[in-house]
Symmetry: C2
Amino acid sequence: MKVAKFGGSSLASAQQVTKVVSIIKDDATRRAIVVSAPGKRSKEDTKVTDLLIELHQAILDQAPTDTLVHAIYQRYVEIGMHFNVETTVLEEIKHDLEQLTLHDEFFTPYFYDRVLASGENNNARLIAAVLNTQQVNARYVSPQELGMLVSEEPQNAQILPEAYKRIAKWQRAEEILVIPGFFGVTKKGEICTFSRGGSDVSGAIVAAGLKVDLYENFTDVDGIFAANPNYVHQPELINELTYREMRELAYAGFGVFHEEALMPSFKAHIPVVIKNTNNPTHPGTKITNQRDTTHQPVVGIASDEGFSMIYISKYLMNREVGFTLRVLKIFETFGLNYEHMPSGIDDISIILRADQLTDVLEEELLRKIAYDIDPDELRITHDLSMVVVVGEGMRQRVGITAESTAALARKQINLEMINQGASEVSIMFGIHKEQEQLAIRNLYYTFFD
Amino acid sequence: MKVAKFGGSSLASAQQVTKVVSIIKDDATRRAIVVSAPGKRSKEDTKVTDLLIELHQAILDQAPTDTLVHAIYQRYVEIGMHFNVETTVLEEIKHDLEQLTLHDEFFTPYFYDRVLASGENNNARLIAAVLNTQQVNARYVSPQELGMLVSEEPQNAQILPEAYKRIAKWQRAEEILVIPGFFGVTKKGEICTFSRGGSDVSGAIVAAGLKVDLYENFTDVDGIFAANPNYVHQPELINELTYREMRELAYAGFGVFHEEALMPSFKAHIPVVIKNTNNPTHPGTKITNQRDTTHQPVVGIASDEGFSMIYISKYLMNREVGFTLRVLKIFETFGLNYEHMPSGIDDISIILRADQLTDVLEEELLRKIAYDIDPDELRITHDLSMVVVVGEGMRQRVGITAESTAALARKQINLEMINQGASEVSIMFGIHKEQEQLAIRNLYYTFFD
């Protein structure tokens, strides 16, 4: 049994929906569908979610909303008409949109959630109707009906543990379930949206609830590249990677999923496959809890810029009990999150994302460290990038660190930092930003091709 | 101007003292001498300091002390008679020892310090007298007279800042000053000993006070080896290294100095040279604030065993604010000092010295982490060694990390951890203990010979 999630671009037009219909028809084990709101049909297009944000603002401003409502409604009409869906469905959608504008309780904290969620909700209604016209026994299931219970936190819904049990009751449904992504309902029946990852989270929750064998995430790419295609010419696609590997890659700029999106499927040990609606026969990239690393110890090379490093050196530092804690507490006082903290005998470096620092804050921070810690040396380096070599096979292959450092040394790339030993699936190198592209390219050609 | 410190083995016998006399005569710029108590004359011998510890115990026990006093006194007599020193000096020493046993205030916290310090103090008296018989204009200067003022902490004296000014007044002394090492005096006139590093500390303080050009530390070795001679056959001697490099080497098992001993000379920017009393023409190993790294970017390879590593992994760990601090506070609660803390995206490893852990403590610690942190994975690895490649030239030479990791990979040595980025003068590798010797040897042959 599979859950398939379709993103906005997969549902942007009748042409795209036609592909989705044949994907669903192709595999009888696809028993539940999670849908996003219709996305962009072209680069210049506006997606339904953005139109809904405008609509919400217009309602708050008590400005005219007719044109916006019409534009949104037309997106559904365009698809619905193509498939000759029952007119009652389109009427329902129209009614729903009009109800939003009549809402006289727009001051409630859930109103924004309700307006935005309507994009997915109405699309689920529409897609179920489309499938019915194509001889597919499908039904729209609202999150309320499904049992997707969430916490009472507008725009930041957290799934409640009992939701999984409720969703599990739908395992034996005869119809293919068409479920709107992006939101759940509170116990009081309020619509409440997830903070990030939107429909990806919904798909992962449904997959975990129904205990499926595979969660298919349909997008508009064939899968995840082994390196940034802006840096490396036509990098390989990754066939399979683990959740841990994905996290490491995501940390350093691989923005396939929002970090939290896959948590429910990770916890339920359900593999996820990223597939392309426009090329559904391509196997895509599979994300699993474990993989065989024999043939591909390294799975990808990622990088992210915008780091700063504060270096503190003090003779006999490691004789001072609680020294590290004292340093970290200063960072806490300033509300600064640090990412890494390599330590020598008499030195410590604190690496943090530079966007947290202003000139004033930086000056105050350094002054505070100088005053409290009285270091022999104190210095900040800006414009660092973190380059990460990721692969579960690292632990078994002694030479990967050696090959990586050799690749960097050959190009005279200086290492400001190496971080290995915490993560079992990555080595991280801190280098200067201007050498980032060169580093990525050389590491890529060391482990791929 | 130079200060020379002579250790116990350099002053153990008349034969050794003869070498010291000619060293002093050889260089007219040696204007101050700091002496230890007479050391062992052979492997089976007992050094004066150990006899004094016995004496102290006997006094506390109100046991007979005559035999011990005589044995101690004989050590000075043996040397004094050889050089025909004035008998008044030996009488003074005898009187001083007898006074200790008559002391009726042995309950004061400084009594232990006073008994032990007499070893150095009487030796300074003796050596000054010896030098006088050899046509050297020398004089004994007590720490009281010198102005070596220390804090009121028995067995843990800290030098007071004003001491340096007082010592500076002796810069133009006509005689060569012979100063006992190992202790200072409090403002109330009590004798108080340094906690560790004994006479090495005194030498460094005198060097800083007199603002000399060089602090010569005479021992019984030609200098510091670039690697442990138990692991590497006849390793090179280091010509010159910086204080920072020495600290890194000392951390990983190079026990030439106690860590705090050289602090005063480090702060005063005074170079230290380790020389051999038995081979004084050998240039020895020089410790400086800065060195030219052109020819020798790596200065030494050190290692230390007995580390454990606790690995904590939790999906989305880095989204939890203050996560690291929470982990470290658990260690603080258990009174555990950690040495290093490499961090991945969703993982953190804490490396600590294993001698702090008992089976019970370890179990409780892991249970506490499991309970408070709720990790996906939690594991402890024992029997790790830290191998450190040390050299100020590292920053300039891109390839040193690559060469090191390649050397280790060639021998299939798995890296549990790499720590680079805090210290500018070292890379640290965490490996399994059984591979330590192999690692040291291969790293040595990579950078030396």
